[in-house]
């Protein structure tokens, strides 16, 4: 599904990723943990194609294709979905219109018929109920005036509608209460399938209790410094990152 090899990335002259390797197979769920500022969002943004990063070296293959050959929208159209850490507000852009446009843009390029208004409405209401997003927020402008939790639910709603092949969640659980956390976890679990992969960036092992990742990685010093099972997350929660950083330095 995804193969990142020796990825080096800098931002404004500052090296952030320094030799990151990551292999994600179809059906796998990978958790990525790590101290603040270690480059987790940088990695997520690189995968989604965001501007402002300088690729120094390395390669990323997505479904055996060079990811850097694809524009932002092409990546989304081929199944990459990034739930953003800080979803932006889009004043004047109606949420429902946005969701429909997004869905139909992706359907169009994949040779599927566009959904008509009625079919779309039915689907979006169903998925909104799933992520417990109040229907009135569908009528508002995208994320405008949404609470932190509502913004995150709106991200999961988009993921549920678009059914990506590779879902990347960037701290979608940060700042959420237990109910919202459950919604995020359900959103991920509902999409789990042998064909689909997930990368879940998180600070808290609590989310992983619900999601049960196949692998847990620690991203620090610009690289994956350690990988393990769910128990690694528990250990990090208990002991923090200090010991891993020390071992890595040694």
């Amino acid at each position: 599904m995804l193969s990142i090899k020796d990825l080096h990335v800098s931002v404004e002259g500052k090296d952030i990723l320094k030799g990151l390797n990551l292999e994600v197979k179809p059906g796998e769920v990978h958790a990525i943990m790590g101290p603040n500022g270690s480059g987790k969002s940088t990695m997520a943004h690189i995968l989604a194609g965001r501007d402002g990063y300088e690729l120094i070296k390395g390669s990323i293959l997505y479904q055996d294709q060079d990811l850097f050959d694809l524009s932002v929208e092409e990546r989304a159209q081929r199944g990459i979905f990034l739930a953003m850490q800080y979803p932006v507000e889009l004043p004047g852009v109606n949420n429902m219109t946005f969701l429909k446009e997004s869905m139909n843009s992706i359907r169009r390029v994949n040779g599927q018929d566009e959904l008509d208004a009625v079919a779309f409405m039915k689907l979006v209401k169903e998925k909104a109920a799933l992520v417990e997003l109040p229907e009135k927020l569908l009528k508002r402008d995208v994320n405008s005036g949404f609470s932190g939790g509502e913004k995150k639910r709106n991200e999961i709603l988009q993921m549920a509608l678009l059914e990506p092949k590779l879902g990347i969640l960037d701290e979608t659980d940060s700042g959420l209460d237990i109910d919202a956390l459950r919604v995020v976890a359900n959103g991920v679990n509902a999409l789990r399938s042998p064909q689909r992969s997930m990368i879940v960036v998180t600070h808290y092992q609590r989310l992983l209790d619900y999601i049960k990742p196949d692998v847990v990685h620690v991203l620090a010093n610009g690289r994956i410094v350690r990988s393990g099972g769910h128990s690694l997350a528990l250990e990090l929660e208990e002991k923090g990152y200090g010991w891993i950083l020390e071992e890595d330095a040694a």
């Binding site: 932002v72 990034l82 004047g92 946005f98």
Partner: protein, 435 residues
């Protein structure tokens, strides 16, 4: 040559070459209006760039051209196929090249208590009434283009809604240009009067059936009596080569409500002037609009709101989308005189700048002489936020579509207030085609 002389010569030549056409106007009422305006013009100079309110306007390109009033031959077989409202659900008034076109107009089912008519179709008595009202209002007295409009008065519309009457159907007015051999001069006027507690909805559209070059120079005078309520939409969708100049003069009595939305899209040269005055208390005036600027286009909005009575509310909210290397001018003036306590006046002008070499001149002016008022103004010039673009594209939306959505989103801050869905949809369509 001195720019003020160029304007004077241009006007004199325009007058001369149109003289035979004007002579044909046998209606005494109209002759009076013409005569008065010509007299007034003796004291005025045609605008030039030395005048403060015209300093950004390239008038020379206008003064280089000669425009002619359309002769009386009727233009048949034209087809205005794009209406906002279905025929049965609206009243229609159509003017083609400044001449009333009865074939395209329709007033079926109109109560005879209400007047919705072209000037030329009115009885002599009503013509005198309307002319007298126009003379009394005497709007844009010192605006030479307004006096030019009067001095070559050809035809116009008169809408009179009696006391307590609500017109349910919208009145859709189309000023249509249809090219002929000459560069057409269109100078319509409209007079809209809503008596106490009357309500109406009027859409004025300025359009062309082709890419002709012409000069539209129109005035709309509006009087809202006590508690009258008018929704007034104006959609300027002229040809790319048109010169468009239109004015609105509004007078409001106690408790009246005016809601106005302006779209200024077409023309190579376009200017809208709106002047409002309160003549009673507790009245409110809401002026909103969206203008766009493409390459080589000049688009200008001038607004003058006068608060001379206490307890009135005004809002001006205009959004500009500058997508080409042209020039946008927004000049919004609010005057609050010393007796106008408890005035609430808000002005906002935001511009979305999508190219590098466009010019935006935005000039809010608040002159406040009362002390107990709530007034604010704000103007901004901004660009598309790259994070917004990224968000949309990361959801699979192609770049050009994402761009369009964000531009429309920007305009939406004005358009969302439009309560009439057909109008809102129509405007959305116009803007998406443009961007």
């Amino acid at each position: 040559m001195n720019s003020s002389i160029i304007g004077q010569d241009w006007f004199q030549n325009t007058l001369l070459s149109n003289q035979p056409e004007i002579e044909k106007s046998k209606v005494l009422a109209v002759n009076n209006i013409q005569a008065k305006a010509r007299n007034q013009l003796k004291h005025l100079v045609m605008p030039n760039r030395k005048q403060e309110t015209w300093r950004y306007t390239d008038l020379n390109s206008l003064y280089e051209k000669m425009f002619k009033l359309n002769d009386r031959k009727t233009i048949d077989a034209i087809d205005v196929d794009e209406w906002i409202f279905p025929e049965q659900e609206s009243y229609r008034l159509v003017m083609v090249n400044g001449r009333f076109n009865p074939q395209l107009s329709s007033l079926e089912g109109l109560s005879d208590r209400i007047i919705i008519s072209a000037f030329s179709q009115l009885s002599a008595e009503l013509q005198f009434d309307a002319a007298r009202i126009l003379q009394t209002i005497n709007s844009f007295e010192s605006d030479a283009f307004a006096q030019m409009n009067r001095s070559l008065f050809s035809d116009g519309f008169y809408i009179h809604v009696p006391k307590n009457t609500w017109i349910e159907k919208p009145i859709e007015i189309a000023y249509v240009n249809h090219s002929s051999d000459d560069q057409v001069l269109s100078q319509p006027s409209s007079l809209i009067i809503l008596e106490n507690d009357a309500q109406a909805k009027v859409v004025e559209r300025y359009m062309s059936l082709d890419e002709a070059e012409y000069f539209f120079n129109g005035t709309s005078d509006i009087v809202l009596k006590k508690n009258a309520h008018l929704k007034h939409y104006r959609i300027q969708q002229e040809s790319h080569n048109a010169y468009h100049l239109s004015r609105v003069a509004l007078k409001q009595k106690n408790g009246s409500i005016y809601k106005n939305v302006n779209l200024a899209l077409g023309g190579c040269w376009s200017r809208m002037d709106i002047q409002t005055a309160f003549e009673g208390q507790q009245a409110s005036c809401d002026l909103q609009g969206v203008y766009t600027v493409r390459d080589q286009q000049y688009n200008d909005i001038h607004i003058d709101v006068k608060h001379q009575q206490p307890n009135c509310t005004s809002q001006e909210k205009f959004r500009g989308i500058i997508h080409g290397k042209g020039r946008a001018v927004f000049d919004g003036r609010i005057l609050v005189s010393k007796d106008a306590q408890k005035t609430d006046a808000q002005l906002s002008n935001k511009n979305l700048l999508l190219v590098d070499d466009a010019e935006i001149n935005t000039k809010p002016q608040l002159e406040i002489y009362a002390d107990d008022v709530k007034c604010s103004h704000g103007t901004t010039v901004g660009k598309i936020n790259p994070e917004h673009m990224f968000y949309l594209r990361a959801r699979g939306i192609p770049e050009d579509q994402a761009y369009r959505m964000l531009c429309l989103g920007f305009a939406e801050q004005v358009l969302e207030a439009i309560e009439d869905k057909p109008i809102q949809n129509y405007i959305h369509g116009l803007l998406s085609n443009l961007l």
